[in-house]
């Protein structure tokens, strides 16, 4: 028994991992943070999916581990010690190769951790092998070649090719003509609230499957063609959604609202932010797919994405700057609580008051009318997941709903901070 672990029925998982990790010593330092703990991404990309596999080994899942499985979990990490040490050394070599190749794009941990783990399995410790630097350089080149095949320049060349523009415009036209007449108001679906009640703690898988089978997300999206509905959701500035342009340019700043984006802008936004860009299809397939997606309910292709939009619309109603609404579900109540904490945190961080007259109007609107900012970000997240072919399942919905609010809040903090820099104060 590790010193300090009380003989209680369960032990915090983080403590067990930290303890086993410490026993691996300096060999894994490149995968550790300055406090000697495994990096967040070491846990997320290496320990969880490749060593502990909590989805397969339920006894290793959750915040606390039953005392009877403690030794087993520790042994799993210690057994993986040599391969983790080799992974760490490969990571150092790969970073060196990246530096030599002058590559600065992408997140090195996201891009190379799992690749280094593969190298460690295949070749073992690079220190005892000749030509390791060459292997590392090859791995870096491969990662970036896969990512490079889908580039913004190639996308732009494809959509602006004069021989193709008429054909693409025709595809948009026919896709939009084939849309079902979406004039009806969405019937209220009480199951959405029911699912929102369970999803933060114990997502109801059967209910989720029923929502998918009954195409509740599609039905909920039907009303978006009615005047003003998409606008009031934050998804369009127009009174009614219109077929998108193909477009020939895009800029990360000032992207229009999701439904008003051109095909080029939609794909561009996903390209520039995407980790796992290599898992996307090729350009012609992406463009045609995007055209069809634009004509679909919620302008998303998959039923789970549409259900998540409907859930987001329901749950985000109560994220109100001025407060006051009683939450209708557990998920809504948690989102409200996160937003409620933000007003205290913003004071502690001495951020500008969004109601100050000198705050840019678009920033003030984004903060005062949070559900709109929320829905835009949620749409972009789901759209990105569709492009990367990541399935959205019942047990991932809450992380998405909560993560979207966190990300909107953190971006707004950054924007508020930037207004101070323009101000030219002393610090």
């Amino acid at each position: 028994m590790v010193q300090g672990i009380a003989p209680s029925a369960a032990v915090p998982r983080g403590m067990l991992i930290a303890d086993a990790w410490a026993q691996l010593g300096d060999a894994v330092a490149p995968l550790s943070n300055p406090s000697g703990r495994p990096l967040a991404r070491t846990v997320k990309l290496l320990l969880d999916p490749l060593v502990l596999r909590p989805t397969l080994n339920a006894r290793f899942a959750g915040g606390v581990i039953d005392v009877e499985h403690v030794d087993e979990l520790r042994a799993a990490i210690l057994d993986a010690g040599p391969v983790l040490a080799a992974t760490a050394t490969w990571f150092q070599l790969v970073k060196k190769a990246r530096r030599r190749a002058g590559i600065t794009e992408g997140h090195p941990q996201d891009l190379y951790f799992q690749r280094c783990f593969e190298l460690a399995h295949r070749y073992g410790d690079p220190k005892s092998m000749s030509g390791a630097a060459g292997v590392a350089a090859g791995a870096v080149a491969e990662v970036h070649a896969e990512r490079g095949s889908v580039t913004v320049n190639r996308l732009r060349a494809f959509v602006t090719d004069p021989e193709r523009t008429a054909e693409l415009a025709g595809l948009v036209r026919s896709a939009w003509e084939a849309r079902p007449d979406g004039g009806a108001a969405a019937p209220a679906h009480a199951e959405l609230r029911e699912f929102l009640d369970t999803c933060p703690t114990a997502p109801d898988e059967r209910l989720w499957r029923r929502l998918v089978d009954e195409r509740v997300g599609t039905a909920e999206g039907a009303g978006l063609d009615r005047p003003g509905v998409a606008r009031r959701c934050g998804l369009s500035s127009r009174e009614r959604p219109a077929p998108p342009e193909i477009g020939d340019r895009a800029s990360k700043r000032r992207l229009p609202r999701p439904f008003d984006r051109s095909i080029m802008e939609r794909l561009f936004a996903a390209f520039t932010s995407a980790f796992h860009r290599e898992s996307m299809g090729d350009i012609p397939a992406l463009v045609v797919g995007e055209i069809h997606r634009s004509a679909a309910p919620w302008q998303l292709a998959e039923e789970p994405s549409r259900i998540t939009m409907a859930l987001g619309r329901e749950a985000s109603t109560g994220i109100d700057y001025f407060g006051g609404r009683v939450a209708a579900s557990a998920a809504e109540s948690r989102l409200q609580a996160r937003w409620g904490r933000e007003s205290y945190v913003a004071h502690v961080l001495r951020l500008p008051d969004p109601e100050a007259s000198g705050i840019p109007e678009n920033l003030r609107d984004d903060i005062l009318i949070m559900p709109l900012s929320y829905m835009r970000r949620l749409w972009a997240r789901l759209h990105g997941r569709e492009l990367r072919r990541e399935a959205t399942e019942a047990d991932g919905v809450w992380d998405l709903l909560d993560g979207v609010l966190r990300s909107v809040i953190l971006d707004q903090r950054d924007r508020l901070r930037r207004t101070l820099e323009r101000e030219g104060g002393g610090t």
Binding site: G4, S35, G63, Q109, L349, R406, G424, T427
Partner: protein
């Protein structure tokens, strides 16, 4: 060993609230923002009171399942177990590198927001560049427990190595500055962030006491002064203890109200608004006097107001609104914070930014 009471308010676990002085608001976040040094881990908020030398933070835990992962690193394994097990009192153990890193980060971020730089109180401004560099390094030490999965990237994006590089040859702080620069370079490589390094030129010392402006007009007919609320202006603009002064003068037959507010050390500009007796006056920074100054003619009708509404409200229209309530506790709290900052300059665990300021180094 520190004892904390543990309360459960609705679904939130609150650690330490009973220790707060009587008379603080009934909220479970009784710490005034000006005193709070904050860290945001997954599922909770941790805050230290900068006026208390306590090692362990107060906390509100809203998702115990998420917090279980790291709670033991902050309060010790037994206390964490007790918190999650429903105890109403815990004894927190000291000593953990993660606790130190979290507390260090919290204090740096507090300094970034509330450091009370002041000519009048002789509290020098801290280098924002050094603070951001230290914040990035401290953030990396607790990245595994933070709610923001991109906290390190975000912190690195704000870093400019220029102010750190400018210290690298300093006889006292050079070694530490070099270590910090090397650590940040390593982090930047691990997180795929390209650090900026702006050339830093030595600037002339900006530490002369600000001189007050001279009145050119006739003798003041009326006047007064009032403190400037910290919540109405951004960090580093207004002298933390400086008072806004106004005076009414008669010039060429017209009545003019003039307002001046002492600027903070190292201020680079900015515009304030003063409101008095219904008149609104824009105040601009005058680098020669170290004051924000402005004046406006007062319509006859307002003169009557001036005799009854003699309080001047100063705010930055790009930061706050004038609707900041008068807080009777503010003077005492702010005096304590200024004393705390003054003490930090000589503290054994002072940050690089604090020590650089104490040595009179003028880094941006």
């Amino acid at each position: 060993m520190t004892e904390f009471p543990v309360e459960r308010i609705h679904s939130v676990i609150v650690i330490g609230s009973l220790l707060h002085p009587p008379g603080s608001p009934p909220d479970h976040r009784p710490l005034h923002p000006e005193r709070a040094a904050l860290v945001e881990p997954r599922g909770a908020l941790l805050y230290w009171d900068v006026l208390e030398p306590r090692a362990h933070p107060y906390a509100e835990i809203h998702e115990p399942g998420l917090a279980a992962d790291w709670l033991w690193e902050v309060y010790g394994p037994e206390a964490a177990d007790a918190i999650l097990g429903g105890a109403d009192r815990i004894a927190a153990e000291a000593e953990s590198p993660v606790l130190d890193a979290a507390r260090g980060l919290a204090h740096l971020r507090w300094a970034e927001a509330w450091w009370p730089s002041s000519h009048e109180a002789a509290v020098p401004a801290l280098s924002a560049g050094l603070l951001r560099a230290e914040i990035a390094w401290r953030t990396a030490g607790v990245e595994h427990l933070l709610d923001d999965e991109e906290a390190v990237e975000r912190a690195l994006a704000a870093v400019d190595l220029g102010p750190v590089a400018a210290l690298e040859r300093h006889p006292v702080l050079g070694a530490e500055a070099r270590d910090l620069a090397a650590n940040l370079a390593g982090l930047a490589e691990d997180y795929g962030v390209v650090l900026r390094t702006a050339e830093v030129r030595a600037r002339p010392q900006d530490w002369a006491l600000a001189a007050g402006g001279e009145d050119e007009a006739g003798p003041a007919l009326a006047g007064g002064e009032a403190p400037v609320s910290w919540e109405a202006v951004p960090q580093g603009l207004v002298d933390a203890v400086g008072r806004a002064r106004w005076s009414l003068v008669q010039r060429a037959g017209a009545f003019t109200v003039a307002v001046d507010v002492p600027a903070a050390p190292k201020v680079r500009g900015g515009v304030l608004t003063a409101r008095i007796g219904g008149a609104e006056i824009a105040l601009r920074h005058d680098p020669d006097t170290g004051m924000f100054t402005g004046e406006a003619e007062v319509p006859q009708g307002l003169l009557a107001h001036l005799s009854s509404q003699r309080t001047v409200h100063v705010f930055d229209p790009a930061f706050g609104t004038e609707a900041i309530e008068v807080d009777p506790d503010a003077p005492a709290r702010r005096a304590a914070i200024v004393a705390h900052a003054y003490g930090r300059l000589a503290a054994a665990d002072a940050s690089l930014a604090e020590r650089a300021a104490a040595l009179g180094i003028d880094a941006p």
